[in-house]
């Protein structure tokens, strides 16, 4: 098998919190990402889903180097990224780009669209000013914006249009991998559909790979070939998309899928729903054993107190991985 584009292995990110010792060491750690492994092939797309606070955004930011990793490895085409210096990172910044959730906060309000899109081109040394101007117009066209609006400021655009600008900026350096952190969750449904379609279209056109972070399973299903489910900093299940939706195997995945409301009154009123009790525990004080066991509806099916004692490992079985003590 050829080398994957991105290979993440046992990635952890712990944030020091609370009071420090005299030597300035933290005594308590928030385990935001706690041993996550997955890989993305060239042109592939992985959806990373989970509820708020499960560590999916931290995971994305650690991969692109916005947070230094606590331990573990992130390999891009075989090159270890976590140990790179700032200069060492530079060539990979171009190859790995990011799209953020909030199209209002992620664009500089004092720059015109032309300046916003020119900046990465200039930074990566892509062409002379004249060539760059043409490239900016081509980028706008690619994301479905009117090239005549190139001198406008972000506030003159709607939320959906701003997200298109963010996408154009990510495309500027001709990346191989785009990390999308909840790119459509701030948008209204009719606009959301436009952006989801655009991302799908661009992926085909530029042969992009996506790491797509989202909490909306239906959106992820439209864009990704593989899906990984996170809970409290760990992967609980990873599988090929249709496999995961048809036969969810981890109890949390089952509950998550059953909690998604269907826009169809007949289905919605007749189906059986697994309603989980309680809240997601704090990653400061994660439960012993399986992080999901206090809320798990199938915890009784495992003999003894294994779920509360032993952390289940992510076990690969064919095309699927799962971290659960259930048979």
């Amino acid at each position: 098998m050829s080398q994957p584009l991105l290979k993440v292995q046992d990635l952890t990110k712990h944030f020091p919190v609370g009071p420090r010792t005299i030597l300035g060491k933290a005594e308590q750690f928030l385990r935001a990402v706690d041993g996550v492994s997955f890989q993305i092939e060239k042109g592939g797309s992985l959806g990373l889903v989970g509820e708020s606070g499960c560590g999916k955004s931290t995971c994305a930011r650690t991969i692109v180097g916005l947070h230094p990793a606590t331990s573990g490895s992130v390999r891009y085409e075989g090159v270890e990224l976590t140990s790179l210096s700032r200069q060492g990172w530079a060539p990979y910044r171009r190859k790995i780009q990011m799209i953020f959730q909030d199209p209002y906060a992620s664009l500089d309000p004092r720059q015109t669209v032309a300046q916003i899109l020119d900046e990465p081109l200039k930074l990566f040394g892509l062409g002379r000013p004249r060539e760059r101007r043409l490239r900016v117009l081509a980028l706008l066209e690619a994301v479905g914006l009117n090239p005549r609006h190139v001198q406008r400021y972000p506030h003159e655009f709607s939320g959906g249009q701003r997200q298109r600008i963010g996408i154009a900026r990510a495309l500027a350096g001709e990346p191989d991998l785009i990390v999308c952190d909840e790119p459509v969750s701030a948008l209204d449904v009719s606009i959301q559909a436009q952006i989801v379609n655009l991302l799908g279209e661009l992926r085909e056109r530029f042969d992009l790979a996506y790491l797509f972070i989202a909490h909306d399973l239906a959106v992820v299903r439209h864009l990704c070939d593989r899906i990984a489910v996170m809970y409290l900093g760990r992967l609980v299940e990873e599988a090929q998309r249709d496999e995961l939706f048809k036969n969810p195997s981890h109890p949390y995945t089952k509950a998550l899928l059953s909690a998604v409301p269907y826009p169809d009154p007949e289905v919605e009123r007749t189906r059986e729903r697994i309603v989980l009790g309680g809240d997601v525990p704090s990653p400061l004080t994660p439960p012993s054993g399986c992080p999901f066991h206090p809320r798990c509806h199938q915890v009784g099916e495992v003999s003894g107190d294994r779920c509360s004692r032993e952390v289940p490992a992510l076990v690969h079985e064919g095309q699927r991985s799962r971290a659960c003590h259930l048979d």
């Binding site: 509820e51 708020s52 709607s158 939320g159 959906g160 249009q161 209204d188 449904v189 009719s190 606009i191 959301q192 559909a193 436009q194 989801v196 379609n197 799908g200 279209e201 909490h215 909306d216 399973l217 239906a218 959106v219 299903r221 439209h222 998309r241 939706f245 509950a255 998550l256 899928l257 059953s258 909690a259 998604v260 409301p261 269907y262 826009p263 169809d264 009154p265 007949e266 289905v267 919605e268 009123r269 729903r273 309603v275 989980l276 009790g277 809240d279 997601v280």
Partner: protein, 330 residues
């Protein structure tokens, strides 16, 4: 007689950019114990409609007009002290963000007992007992302990349960729920929706459920009203709206929602363009610039909401009710 009847409700704001008609002639009725889903995208006027029902539009810059009949009483002209007796008592409200709508400086207990002392004239200790019972009813563990806690000590789901408990303390006839689950994760959303349904069954409360999530509406509402740019464009029983939408906006909205069972090989259908600027509304139908079936008359006159088929169904699209042949010719 319906529990609530709203006629020609309009709210406009005078801003620097001109007059913004946030709600522009909204009429609907509600029966006791039913749930009306008010759906639409951001800026469509659904939340302002809710606020206007309780007279919570700040004036200036807001100007409100129209008639709201609640329980046989016209409430828009009531003086503030009388309105206060209704708010939180006979009509209660749950807001989207339980963090900003609870007072961070007061304990949960203080905020709950205040409602009972004010509306029911209870003493503190009796109000405290009742509050603890209410928290227990919404499924919060250790209600006595919660009473002594501050909002920041609770999780998002717990805070929303507190909001619901507070809303239901006086057993209101009508509950206005403004995006009650939008800030919550899906597994917690499922808990809260289930709780609201149980509470409604037990107390016979009518609920106006404002949301942009069509999935939530599908599961919880008896009737649905779809809003666009300050107006109701279509209304009817939930089943009918989802099975046979008439208005092009409703159709577009329904088909742009990604579903867990839809075909992923093709693109999601989307509505081109974006909603109009409420300060610069087109003269005709507000949806016309984005509409696939737009005709000349759509750009000139604003269509009224009229009954179609059954008395329960209403929509505001004269083109959609034309026989299919003309539609095909155009």
């Amino acid at each position: 007689m319906p529990l609530l009847s709203v006629k020609d409700l309009a709210v406009r704001f005078e801003t620097h950019d001109g007059i913004v008609r946030a709600v522009d002639g909204v009429s609907f009725e509600m029966e006791e114990g039913e749930t009306l889903g008010l759906v639409g995208e951001s800026g469509s006027g659904k939340s302002v409609t809710n606020l206007a029902l309780l007279g919570l539009i700040p004036s200036p810059p807001g100007v409100m007009s129209g008639v709201v009949n609640f329980d046989g009483q016209e409430i828009t002209k009531l003086p503030e002290p009388d309105l206060r007796k209704i708010r939180g008592n006979r009509i209660a409200m749950i807001f989207q963000d339980p963090m900003t709508s609870l007072n961070p400086l007061l304990t949960i207990g203080r905020q709950l007992t205040e409602v009972l002392e004010l509306h029911k004239g209870m003493g503190y200790s009796q109000a405290l007992r009742q509050s603890a019972a209410a928290l227990g009813e919404v499924g919060l563990a250790e209600p006595e302990k919660r009473l002594a806690q501050y909002p920041h000590e609770l999780s998002g789901g717990m805070r929303q349960r507190v909001m619901i408990a507070m809303g239901l303390l006086c057993e209101p006839r009508l509950l206005l729920a403004d995006e009650p689950t939008t800030a919550l994760d899906v597994t917690i959303q499922a808990q809260i929706l289930e709780l609201m349904a149980a509470v409604q069954k037990q107390h016979g409360t009518a609920i106006i459920l404002v949301t942009h999530d069509l999935g939530v509406v599908a599961g919880s509402a008896d009737r649905v009203a779809v809003m666009y740019a300050g107006r109701i464009v279509e209304e009817g029983p939930t089943q009918d709206i989802f099975n046979s939408p008439v208005h092009p906006y409703t159709k577009g909205l329904l088909s742009s929602v990604p579903r867990l069972d839809s075909d992923t090989s093709c693109e999601l259908s989307s509505i081109p363009g974006s909603p109009p600027d409420l300060a610069e509304m087109p003269p005709g139908c507000a949806f016309a610039p984005r509409c696939k079936k737009v005709q000349k008359e759509c750009l000139l006159t604003q269509p009224d909401l009229v009954s179609s088929g059954s008395p329960q169904r209403r929509h505001a699209c004269p083109i959609a009710s034309l026989p299919a042949s003309r539609e095909a010719n155009s």
